[in-house]
Amino acid sequence: MMEEYEILRNTVREFSSKEIEAVSKDIEINGIPRSLKEKIAAQGFLGATLPAEKGGSGLDEKGYMIILEETAKASPSVSMWIFLTNLYLKIHPDANGKQDILSGKIDVTVDLSPYYLRSKAQPLKVAGGKISGKRANVINGTASSIIVSDGSSIYAVGSGMHAVNKNHLGLRGMDLSDVDFDSSTYEKVGSEEKLRTELKNSDGEIAAIFLGVADGTMAKAADYSKVRTAFDHPLKDYTPIFDEIVAARTQIELIRYYLYGNQGEYAKALSKIKAKEIALLATRSSLQIHGGYGYIHDFGIEKYYRDAMALAVYFGDDSWENGIISEVVIGERGGII
């Protein structure tokens, strides 16, 4: 079994370095190209955990986490796009036009804005055969279909959406949009609780994305430290830089070992919090090691710094995780004042 995961990891890594890395800088400016989306689909990364009879790849959670982690190393935007597409299909496995989603021909997304840190998203209104209202900060809000909540149920909306793109800090491979909903083309997918539960169950996957961001940028820092010299020595020879690279690596390895070696919500909650922390730390460290070159687009480093922070806001509400951890560590609820 272990070997299978290793084979999968190598396959995704190879695909990622060949297909994603090559266009990763362009993705930041022009978005994820359709051709790449179709290649990702052809690899079976969309509908990763759906069973084969539903058109998916039938992977378990660990296999799916490997996909997210390895793609995030080259492009956090791409990893997040895969995550959103998979989330959509998990919640709505019999969606209309599923074939087009699974083949990467059309984009779908899930409105996560009610779950962002300090969100004040107002529920949409469903009445008289129409769904209407506004949602701010929808990731990939220009997608063909958006799963959105009215506070008690969730709906897949397929038309009547007007998305206004905004400037945004991170994950620039996708738009961030304020979306106006006024649609009669929608289907009820289930209860809002279904989405909430699915998100809570995604802690391992979110941890994998953060871990990929941290590892991807630190690997580049380690490479750079070998070729860049200052005061007649490569950067890697200087103890402070060496220590930073090693410290980040140590944490990444330990979190990865723990994340993939444990199951259950407690382990995933811990991993998500810790992986977020290392992503923030590593992206800052890597940019600093790259110096002035890290600060400009051309080197493909600054995007990790932006993306880690944006992800930390989108997935920054740790109240659910803290609740789980509290039950284990303290035996009851804590940390509420």
């Binding site: 804005s113 962002y116 840190l117 300090r118 969100s119 701010a136 900060n137 905004k166 400037n167 945004h168 800090l169 200052a230 005061f231 007649d232 200087y238 402070p240 830089i241 923030l280 800052r284 940019l287 600093q288 110096g291 002035g292 890290g294 600060y295 400009i296 687009h297 051309d298 600054e302 710094y305 932006r306 922070m309 944006a310 930390a312 806001v313 989108y314 920054g316 509400d317 940390g335 004042i337």
Partner: protein
């Protein structure tokens, strides 16, 4: 000891803040950030209104802090037309001061400082640009990287190697190089993470003839002149970082206060705010202490480097913590831009790593056993 600005300084600061509040609107700041455009018109208005007072270094420090509080990209753009002037003021001759600084201070010209090269920023002694004397001029060849004002300045104070000596930091000299000298080329760098209103470029020099009279000070003393300049300018960079941090804290608190008093926030958020504010206050003391040493002609390089490194770290820390406590509100506000701006503080005018080396080297300790 007096920890307050005097009345004249407070009035000056108010004047600068009024200008920044009026000119650095969210709409304008977003525009210059998005378009990576230097706010030429705003700089002209600032000069015309006499907001900037170059005669008093304390006022420059106060203005730097105040402008960066409102927007770092636009704020720094207001200050950089004069960037590097201290090199000429301290080491140049009267003709150079008259010819070049006169135009800069009257707003007729902009200048820049060209030290960093593609192969080295921190390691200044390792620069490769050469200047060879031929008759009544020098011939310069090489390239310069990440040069502020590189695409817009009329002339540069530029460091080049004039001779090969045993010690690397010897044999370098400073020249005043005009943009219109033949063989001078600049190439604007696009895609900076932050401070995108400021102009940054790569410069190439191909057989550029520079008149011998444009040599600043003595030949071979260039490294010393530039390091002396950094000992001054780092206090101003500390003030930039300080201003950024102050602005972010203010905006973060204002966002949170929309939900009610700060005391109604969870204590972890209150602790974070307390921590941000404490670090800002400490950075402020260091910055003003370093400036005080410099302006009294008794510079303390260890303290200057402490101020620069600590204020930069504070700006980055505050920018990240502000995001964490304001969440999606912060992410879709101007804090997002400040978050990108803040990171440059740990890189330019000496990375934090370089500052720490300076601190360790220059630290004065007593003889406690």
């Amino acid at each position: 000891m007096n920890f307050e600005l005097d009345e004249a300084q407070r009035e000056f600061r108010k004047k600068v803040e009024d200008f920044a509040r009026r000119e650095f609107t969210e709409e304008e700041a977003t525009k210059y950030d998005l378009q990576e455009k230097y706010p030429e018109e705003v700089v002209k208005r600032m000069l015309k209104e006499g907001v900037f007072d170059y005669s008093n270094p304390w006022n420059i420090l106060v203005a730097t802090e105040a402008l960066c509080k409102y927007d770092a990209g636009m704020g720094i753009s207001m200050l950089v037309p004069f960037f590097g002037n201290e090199v000429i003021a301290l080491f140049g001759n009267d003709d150079q001061k008259k010819k070049y600084l006169g135009r800069v201070f009257s707003g007729q010209a902009k200048m820049g400082l060209a030290v960093t090269e593609p192969g080295g920023g921190s390691d200044v002694a390792n620069i490769k640009t050469t200047a060879v004397k031929e008759g009544d001029h020098y011939v310069l060849n090489g390239s310069k990287m990440f040069i502020t004002n590189g695409d817009i300045a009329d002339f540069f104070v530029l460091l080049a190697r004039t001779s090969v000596e045993k010690k690397k930091h010897q044999g370098m000299s400073v020249f005043i190089v005009e943009r219109n000298f033949e063989g001078f080329k600049s190439n604007k760098i696009h895609g900076k993470l932050g401070v995108r209103a400021t102009d940054t470029a790569e410069i190439t020099l191909e057989n550029v003839k520079v008149p011998a009279e444009n040599l600043v000070g003595e030949p071979g003393r260039g490294f010393y002149y530039i390091m002396t300049f950094f000992d001054i300018s780092r206090a101003y960079v500390a003030a930039q970082a300080l201003g950024i941090a102050e602005g972010i804290l203010e905006r973060a608190v204002n966002i949170l206060q929309k939900d009610g008093p700060i005391t109604s926030q969870p204590e972890r958020v209150q602790f974070t705010i307390a921590d941000m504010a404490t670090r800002i206050e400490a950075a402020k003391l260091l910055t003003y202490e370093a400036a005080s040493f410099i302006f009294n002609f008794n510079p303390n390089p260890a303290v200057t480097s402490m101020a620069k490194a600590y204020a930069a770290e504070t700006a980055v820390y505050v920018s990240r913590k502000a995001m964490e406590i304001t969440g999606i509100d912060g992410l879709s506000s101007s804090i997002e831009r400040s978050f990108r701006d803040a990171k440059i503080m740990e890189i330019w005018e000496g990375t934090s790593e370089i500052e720490k080396l300076v601190i360790a080297r220059m630290l004065k300790v007593g003889d406690t056993q």
